[in-house]
C-alpha cells in the first residue's frame, strides 16, 4: 500500500469514526412568522441544526414545543435562534396565539 493510499484510508476511517456533524456541518434554517402564522418548516433538518425564528409581525410570538424541547419568545420584528438537540417529530405552537401551530421533523 502506497503512502498516499494509507493516508487516504486513514482519512476515510477518521471520517467514519467522527461525529455526523463533521460530515454534514450544522445548518441554520429560517422559519418566518408572518400574519399570525408559522411558515412551513423546511425539510432535511437534523440534530445539531439551528432554527432561526423571524417574527415579521407587529406583535410578539413564542415558539413552544409541545414536548418541552424549547420555549422561546420572539419579540416583534426580531430573530431568535434555537439549536435542535434531539431527533423526533415535534409539534409547536405560539403560547400567545395557540391557533398558530407548526411541526418540525428532526432526523438523527
Amino acid at each position: 500500500m502506497s503512502l498516499r493510499r494509507t493516508i487516504l484510508a486513514a482519512v476515510l476511517v477518521g471520517c467514519g469514526l467522527s461525529s455526523v456533524s463533521a460530515v454534514a456541518p450544522a445548518k441554520v434554517y429560517q422559519i418566518v412568522i408572518d400574519r399570525v402564522a408559522f411558515e412551513d418548516a423546511p425539510t432535511g433538518i437534523k440534530v445539531g441544526d439551528t432554527i432561526e425564528w423571524f417574527n415579521k409581525d407587529i406583535v410578539d410570538h413564542t415558539s413552544t414545543a409541545k414536548n418541552g424541547a424549547w420555549d422561546v419568545t420572539i419579540p416583534k420584528q426580531k430573530k431568535v435562534r434555537v439549536v435542535l438537540t434531539k431527533a423526533g417529530i415535534i409539534d409547536y405552537y405560539c403560547r400567545f396565539h395557540p391557533n398558530m401551530t407548526g411541526q418540525i421533523v428532526i432526523k438523527k
Binding site: V36, I58, V59, R95, N99
Partner: protein
C-alpha cells in the same frame, strides 16, 4: 336586568351600520383611526378586568395577550397618526362602542368564578367577530391613506387570531 350579550352586540353592529349609512358618508381617516383605537382600548380594559377577576389560567392567559397585543397595535396606530399628522376624531361609532363597553363592564363586574369566565369569553368572541367584520367591510375599505389601511389590515389578521383563540378558550369553559 342585565342586557344580554346579543343585545349589546346588536347595539355594536347597529352602530357600525349606522355610521356607514349616515348620508352615505363613509368614515374619514381621522374617524377610522379613532374607532380602531377605541375598539382596541375597550378590549385592553376588558382584559385588565378579566386578569383581576378570573382565576382560570387559560382565561387569564387570553386576557393578558389581549392587553399585550392591543396595546402594541394601538401604539403603532398612535405613532402612525402622529407621523401622518392625523388627529383621531371622536364620532358616533366610537361613542356607542364606549357606551356598550361600559355597560358590559358593569355587567361582568357583578359576576364571579366560572360565570364571569364564560360571560367574558363569550363577549370576547362576539366582540372580535363584530369588530373584525367592521374592519373588513367598513373601516379598511373606507380608509384612504395607504399606511393606515395597511396597519388596519395587519391588525385584522391578528384580531382574527384572537377570535379563534377566544372561541377555543370559550369552548373549554363549562
Amino acid at each position: 336586568m342585565f342586557r344580554s350579550i346579543s343585545a349589546v352586540m346588536a347595539v355594536l353592529s347597529v352602530s357600525f351600520v349606522t355610521a356607514s349609512a349616515q348620508g352615505g358618508a363613509k368614515p374619514t381617516d381621522p374617524q377610522i383611526a379613532h374607532i380602531a383605537y377605541t375598539a382596541g382600548q375597550i378590549d385592553i380594559e376588558a382584559g385588565k378586568q378579566a386578569i383581576k377577576m378570573s382565576k382560570n389560567k387559560e382565561v387569564i392567559a387570553f386576557a393578558e395577550n389581549m392587553v399585550k397585543d392591543h396595546t402594541a397595535v394601538n401604539k403603532l396606530a398612535l405613532d402612525l397618526c402622529k407621523k401622518l399628522g392625523v388627529t383621531p376624531e371622536d364620532n358616533d361609532t366610537s361613542k356607542s362602542l364606549s357606551k356598550a363597553a361600559a355597560s358590559k363592564q358593569a355587567e361582568l363586574a357583578k359576576l364571579t368564578g366560572a360565570a364571569f369566565d364564560k360571560a367574558y369569553m363569550d363577549n370576547e368572541v362576539a366582540y372580535h367577530k363584530t369588530v373584525n367584520g367592521a374592519l373588513d367591510t367598513l373601516l379598511i375599505p373606507s380608509s384612504s391613506n395607504a399606511e393606515l389601511k395597511g396597519l388596519l389590515q395587519q391588525g385584522l389578521t391578528i384580531f382574527k387570531g384572537h377570535q379563534q383563540h377566544a372561541e377555543h378558550t370559550a369552548s373549554m369553559i363549562k
